[in-house]
Amino acid sequence: MLVCAGTGCRASSSDMLYKNLNKELKEHDLQDDVQVVETGCFGFCEKGPIVKVIPDNTFYVSVTPEDAKEIVAEHALKGRQVERLLYVDPVNKKHISDSKGMGFYKKQIRIALRNCGLIDPESIDEYLAADGYEALGKVLSEMTPEEAIQEMIDSGLRGRGGGGFPTGVKWQIASKVEGDQKYVVCNADEGDPGAFMDRSILEGDPHSVLEAMVINGYCIGATKGLIYIRAEYPLAIERLKIAIRQAREYGLLGTDILGSGFDFDVEIRYGAGAFVCGEETALIHSMEGERGEPTFKPPFPAQSGYLGMPTNVNNVETFANIPVIYNKGAKWFASIGTEKSKGTKVFALAGKINNVGLIEVPMGITLREVIFEIGGGIKDGKKFRAVQTGGPSGGCLTDKHLDTPIDFDNLIEAGSMMGSGGMIVMDEDDCMVSVAKFYLDFTVEESCGKCSPCRVGNKRLYELLEKITQGKADKEDLDNLRNLSMVIRDTSLCGLGQTSPNPVLSTMDNFMEEYDAHVEDQRCPAGSCKELIRYEIIPENCVGCTACARNCPVNCIAGERKQLHTIDQSLCIKCNACFEKCKFNAVAIV
């Protein structure tokens, strides 16, 4: 019997259930025949606690500690399922007796990550055994470039690097432009704070990206591929190098690939980890040895890219999807997802969430399912506040967006964006003004400085936010904040500046009352802005244990043993140590 001991189920007493099951088994003298094992989260927390019985794959949901008796007496002893605890199929209202057929509780579908965690990334043989390079073989020997591009268009795949541009259309454009030497570029810069989807794909399945790049080359008539990867990803680089070497040895890169007469080879280029170098024009300049600064589009890379030649840029995850599309068909791929966003998206789930990790979900899933089921809910039973998607270019979504199906267009409509897939969850202790400030800090640091709205404007935005978090701002500052945001958005040269005000605008749209509290009452509702909070000792609760005083780094807490302690506000640096150390709830943040 597998009992879920994930945080979600534990919160609804799965540990008691675990104890009770063991106790009941002992009473029936079954402890040597049936084993009770604690597991991690099943990704189905909403219906927790979960008990799965193997080998018959019975899946019990919402099991209470009291149910242990019946499960042991019926299932363990007599081999009869406890019907009332079985999961009820929401569609046909039937009890599901064998969880093998319960694919729908598994909210994740792994397409881009299909081989990650399954094959050895340093072995091309394992990739080949998992249908590797078969899509390439098929495309080279059975399809014309036009047919292969059409397949891409029909699949509905859109770029996973942030913009969501239809990949097939992009290839078609690049294929039609004339050029002596065309290039395929893989964008592995991955600069969003907290994002590691592309790194994980390159570390877990580098060949899938190589295979897709060769297909891309065949489609648009390019014979050279370049992977632009940040030097901070040493393991990904190492595995890519091994993969390239192996693919060359097998003749899957090089000349006359699979006897088709088509030549293609791949080189790695290193980036120094500047966020703006993920922008495709800046990336190309960086590879040319120029400064990593964006230039105005048009001309698009397809018209004039690397060394002035037609260049197709796609993201790592976009590429990772491609071999499967040819193996299983465009129709299959287009059957997953929403009307305008097909397939799946990989997200790096982080922040105040129980199951931090890498997930791949079909487009159209709701934030609620991602956060409260796959993600296992909010840490420490706190309240959900917001979720940030799209990194520094995105925005914060709230309660009211929890049931919005996630896809490219819905996220933009909700004031955020898909971005490359960072998803940071925030709870009641996070101050939304500070969150906006955090991203602005990042943007100010990463702005390349080429154009003034972004270089100067973002700095001013940051200063305004700082003023607000210090309680020194007035109403006019709020108006200025919004106006300046609009100006930066409308007048910046590249995507970085055009989207940098999004964290400000979206938090203003969704959490205006928090801005108002900072400005009108000099109060931080989340209790996180240092200038606006005070630590106080509650006399009724303080037992005089001295823990706070001993841990105060500036020795500003006075008080004898077993006596009431007091804080000298003029010296306090608001380090939070006393709050953390007091076991008697006697330190309050006011």
Binding site: K106, S123, R199, I201, L235
Partner: protein
């Protein structure tokens, strides 16, 4: 290494590799062979999967257990790193999370030797795609 020269070549190579892998899982001992995969992406290594991998290789060898230990990429359970997958002959693979050398020892002694499950199983929470078939 010989080059693969055509699609037919590629398909043949794949079949060879697949049967080789199937054979490897069977092995010649009556108990069959144990397969252990260690998640070795950046986050796994940062939480100690390298030590776990070395420990597994050394200890399985020392304790005379016929096993193959390989590395793999991110399984997605970053919160539970280091993670390893253990596949006993003729059984579904089982993933264990939060594996340190102590846990690894427990897994070897209890699960691998006696097929007795150990706490800390991470249930598979995603669907995989049928790779070969066109639908």
């Amino acid at each position: 290494m010989t080059k693969i020269k055509s699609l037919a070549d590629l398909k043949k190579k794949k079949e060879d590799l697949q049967s080789k892998i199937a054979l490897r899982e069977k092995s010649d001992t009556p108990e069959g062979r144990v397969l252990v995969k260690v998640a070795m992406a950046t986050c796994g290594i940062a939480s100690g999967s390298k030590e776990v991998m070395e420990y597994m290789v050394d200890e399985l060898d020392k304790r005379n257990i016929d096993a193959i230990v390989t590395q793999t990429g991110c399984m997605g359970y970053c919160y539970a790193e280091p993670t390893i997958e253990v596949k006993l002959p003729d059984q579904e693979p089982v993933v264990y999370g939060y594996v340190d050398t102590r846990k690894a020892d427990e897994i070897i002694e209890k699960y691998i030797r006696n097929q007795e499950l150990v706490d800390g199983i991470i249930p598979v929470n995603y669907q995989t795609i049928e790779k070969d078939k066109e639908e």
